[in-house]
């Protein structure tokens, strides 16, 4: 099969890769580029563990073809911390133990960051609906929701 040559930007870095026409963005991130922070839970857009943003829009990497990324801006969990400095959401998830096994955590963080960028002051209901596509089988969600709410409050205070 003829591979496609794709030029894109991932976490601010110009990136090129070869992909099969029917290969998903998630497979290229994980297997081709070694960016294994995005997880494959279901592979069908139900669990949100592979959440990334594409041109600023929150999407499931498993439901995007790698070929579609030509010329776009991709952000993954690997771009969330600034060097050694964790993003406030990452810091808060640690402090409040908003994770157990950790598989859903990258997707939760990417999705929560996307929410706070467009709504710095969400209600608890808004947080719960926004994250409804991110499944967690460990925590029961409560600590995650509280961590996002707390981070939002901190970030508003700091702004």
């Amino acid at each position: 099969m003829a591979k496609l040559h794709i030029s894109t930007t991932i976490n601010g870095e110009p990136t090129e890769y070869l992909c099969a026409p029917d290969e998903t963005m998630l497979d290229v991130l994980r297997n081709g580029l070694g960016l294994t922070g995005s997880k494959e839970g279901c592979g069908s857009g139900d669990c949100g563990a592979c959440s990334i943003t594409m041109d600023g829009r929150l999407v499931c990497a498993c439901l995007v073809l790698a070929a579609e990324a030509e010329g776009s801006e991709i952000e993954t969990i690997e771009g969330m911390a600034d060097g050694e400095a964790l993003h406030p959401l990452q810091q808060k998830f640690l402090e409040m133990a908003a994770l157990q096994c950790g598989i859903c955590t990258p997707g939760m963080l990417v999705a929560a960051k996307s929410l706070l960028e467009q709504n710095p002051n969400p209600t608890e209901t808004e947080v719960r609906y926004w994250l409804a596509g991110n499944l967690c089988r460990c925590t029961g969600y409560d600590k995650i929701i509280r961590a996002v709410m707390d981070t939002a409050a901190d970030m508003r205070g700091a702004a």
């Binding site: 029917d22 949100g48 929150l58 995007v64 070929a67």
Partner: protein, 289 residues
């Protein structure tokens, strides 16, 4: 392995040519939220994938001079939600689309994809049927318009001819005092497939319903336009008798399946209940409350 090809043409003409040349193995990629799932499950193995997201006409939202809207078939739910006026004029159509899947799915899923996937339970479709929306398609033999209600012909089937691509939806201008609503019944609060879905489009004048249209989903092989329910509402003040008659018309129109989400008896009853609730929301919106 497959020998799938991927292409993302800039123009509709190129897309039509490539899609028609690809024959039965060709697939249109808009948001991909159905196509990639089907590919992942091995249900389809496309010969050529025609990505239509670079074609302007399929990805723009236009408010026409007469107050109507033209919405590209590939416009994502989150994009339509951000439009400054569409959701004020057609709140029911928007809430139907926005009920599909999660935030992540909304970043990609489109009205065109939801309609052409052909699910009887498609949340984007009943309110479009009630709205009297018209789908414009383009294929090897040119362009034509199909009322949305006539697009689905059975589960997974549409009236689009081979090689035709969904281009855009036209929503008519609204008389004053008009609004719409969509409600679906699911056993939980989010992230599920409709057991019943009802779209109601109303025009109210001095408390009297002067025009109405009802779209009903998930209770028959296709989404239905329930004309008897509309007739029961038109001319009434949406009083209990009119709502009972419209609800009975919705229940009578049902031809559902029994499955794990709901029995035939349950779906049939809920269709009537939802009609009443949806009509109440649409009426409140039409009154500007």
């Amino acid at each position: 392995m497959t020998d799938t090809q991927y292409m993302a043409p800039q123009t509709l003409d190129e897309a039509v040519t490539a899609f028609a040349a690809g024959g039965e193995a060709a697939r249109i990629l808009a948001g991909g939220t159905d196509l990639l799932v089907q590919m992942g499950a091995g249900m389809v193995n496309p010969g050529v994938i025609v990505d239509v997201k670079k074609i302007t006409e399929l990805n723009s939202i236009e408010e026409t001079a007469d107050g109507g809207f033209v919405v590209g078939a590939a416009v994502a739910g989150a994009v339509l939600e951000e439009h400054p006026t569409f959701g004020k004029v057609w709140p029911g159509v928007l809430e139907g689309l926005n009920l599909i899947g999660s935030t992540q799915i909304q970043g990609r899923a489109s009205l065109g994809g939801n309609l052409c996937n052909g699910s009887p339970a498609a949340d984007g479709v009943p309110a479009m049927v009630a709205a009297g929306a018209v789908l414009t398609v383009q294929g090897p033999n040119g362009r034509r318009d199909i009322p949305v209600k006539d697009v689905p012909t059975g589960p997974g089937k549409t009236s689009l001819a081979p090689g035709e691509i969904a281009v855009c939806f036209t929503f008519p201008p609204r008389p004053a005092g008009s609004s719409d609503a969509y409600l679906r019944m699911i056993p939980r609060t989010e992230m599920d497939i409709a057991v019943v879905g009802v779209g109601v489009n109303l025009t109210m004048k001095d408390g009297v319903c002067t025009d109405a249209s009802v779209g009903l989903g998930a209770v028959a092989p296709t989404v239905l336009l329930v004309e008897d329910a509309a007739k029961a509402l038109i001319g009434s003040k949406l009083d209990a008798a009119a709502l009972d008659a419209a609800a009975a018309a919705c229940s009578a129109a049902c031809n559902p399946i029994d499955d794990k989400r709901g029995t035939i008896a349950y779906r049939t009853k809920v269709a009537g209940v939802l009609l009443k609730r949806t009509a109440a929301i649409a009426a409140k919106r039409a009154a500007g409350v």
